[in-house]
Amino acid sequence: MKDFLRRFMKNKGAVVGLAIFLLVVGVAISAPFLYDGSPWMMVADPLMTPFQDAQYPLGTDMLGRDIAAGMAYGAQVSLLISLISTAVAVIVGVAIGAIAGYNGGWLDDLLMRITEFFQTIPQLAMAVVLVAIFTPSIYSIVGAIALVSWPPVARLVRSEFLSLRQREFVQAAVVIGLRPGRIIFTQILPNAMSSIIITASLMVATAILTESALSFLGLGDRNMMSWGFMIGAARTMLREAAWMSILPGLAILLTVLAINLIGEGLSDALNPQLRNRGEK
């Protein structure tokens, strides 16, 4: 653990990323305390520019809603949806990859065909179609993002299983009569964990981008203020009030960048031997 921290901290970018990410998490958690009441509420004159009034530091939108409050609640939505959908995708991906890699044979073939199918079709278009058909809500959005993002995990886990299954300690576990379920959970999976964590961290970043794209297209949950929605709503006022679109986009950019940096740091810390092989 100490080694892990030391290696992680050696990557300066990862430390900066972690700081930004913790800041976003802090804002998301404190949003209800900082801004009581809904971010949808009209609180002041419409179209106030940032820094015009100390009470509304980031200005207001065309309906007089506080942009700072929207940004804070948007952080909540982005983190919530991206983390849950990634968790679902990882569980599904690990399950499918583990079954395919451990069993092999026709089941492996079938599962890999399905995985390839989901990897081939355009992911964002699929997510758009799914959310539209199942009507936009937090469940359909999480479900759609999870459904289009599990394949890389499944492939990764499968290949890890295929190689780990041949290793002696796993063979030994088979010989002493451990059941497949226990071998998977106690012998193979812990050894595949570091690659899964690295992939998952990058999936959170992609999930944030996908969620923002969906809500930009008007497919967000109607009860939740999100960054993508704010940009989409402000788009018509681009000429008059550019800051309304710029600010939430900056928030997305920083959050996604921070998570990508953390991902690289995790990759350095969890797979130190990879460092020496080229760069990545």
């Binding site: 539209a132 986009g249 960048l257 080229g278």
Partner: protein, 331 residues
């Protein structure tokens, strides 16, 4: 023989994916809110139960599910992709009308992203390899990292603000100037000007991806023994770069093209929406706004078919670039 076999199996796989999309579409249209028959009745302005029942019978909605699926597949094969009741036109006509604009945009963005991405990736790997101008490597890597995290639709908006609103250099909306009849070169120039912003906005994210991929792949090859051998026997650094490193290091980039094109098809929805580009992405946004599910699923099918086709083409290119594949593919 092996080549033929693997080509056929690739083709079968591709058709399998398209078939699966058709089946998925069939079930999705049934899950869409609202019974198709009552929607049609609503469109016709009559909603008495008898009329709805007659419609159900007429469109086979009272048949068993498998029979319906079969007739749906037959319809797709006969180019009957349903009717858009909002636009009063067959779905396929609408899509085919818009497809060329999307292909133009995607083609331009693809060329932009791959050319610039590989160029910058090679440049940054080279500065690292030769040890000269290391700062250039840092600049390229940082820029790629930031662009990789930028939401596509937001970048499009920023481009409009800068190049259209503030500087006034480029048009921000549509595919051609409104209100003027242009022909010949003037027309081509007009479309090209309109194409610049959407192309750069759509291509930038993927360019960043290519930079990272090219750089990582080249650096990995640079560390390999055959490169060291070549250097040790006195071959110049630039020659090693050209003949040894590039040839091997760019292979993963080709594989990636197919995947990227698939993602780009989704990204086109966002770009076309922002720039009012009259392609199928914009059509998809309109279909969303109007809850036109037949049209939405039709576009999804076309986009998927496009991606499958691109993947086949990438595969073909890969075979040309790396003949070793044939031996592995056929086994």
């Amino acid at each position: 023989m092996n080549i033929l076999f693997s080509a056929i199996s690739k083709l079968a796989k591709a058709l399998g994916v398209i078939f699966a999309v058709v089946v998925v579409n069939f079930f999705l249209i049934r899950l869409a809110p609202g019974d198709p028959a009552s929607i049609m009745a609503g469109e016709a302005g009559a909603s008495d139960p008898q009329y709805v029942a007659r419609l159900r019978e007429q469109f086979g909605l009272d048949q068993p599910l498998l029979v319906q699926l079969w007739s749906y597949i037959k319809g797709i094969l006969h180019f009957d992709w349903g009717f858009s009741y909002r636009m009063k036109l067959p779905v396929l006509d609408l899509i085919l009308d818009r497809l060329p604009a999307t292909l133009l945009l995607m083609g331009a963005a693809f060329v932009f992203s791959i050319v610039l991405g590989i160029l910058l990736g090679v440049l940054s790997a080279k500065t690292r390899y030769t040890g000269q101008r290391r700062w250039l490597d840092s600049v390229i890597v940082s820029a790629a990292l930031v662009l990789y995290a930028t939401p596509l639709f937001w970048l499009s908006l920023l481009a409009i603000i800068l190049f259209s609103v503030v500087l006034g250099w480029l048009p921000a909306f549509g595919m051609q100037s409104v209100g003027v009849e242009l022909t010949g070169w003037a027309h081509i120039k007009d479309v090209a000007l309109h194409l610049i912003l959407p192309t750069v906005s759509l291509g930038t994210f993927y360019m960043a991806m290519y930079v990272r991929l090219t750089r990582a792949s080249l650096l990995e090859v640079m560390g390999m023994d055959f490169v060291k051998t070549a250097r040790a026997k006195g071959v110049s650094a630039s020659h090693v770069m050209r003949r040894h490193v590039l040839r091997n290091g760019l292979l993963p980039v080709v594989t990636f093209c197919g995947i990227q094109l698939g993602q780009m098809a989704g990204g086109a929805v966002l770009t076309e929406t922002v720039f009012g580009w009259p392609g199928i992405g914009r059509l998809m946004f309109d279909a969303l706004m109007q809850r036109d599910y037949q049209l939405l699923l039709g576009i999804f099918l076309v986009t998927s078919a496009m991606v499958v086709l691109f993947n086949l083409l990438t595969d073909l290119v890969y075979r040309l670039v790396d003949p070793r594949i044939e031996f592995e593919g056929g086994k």
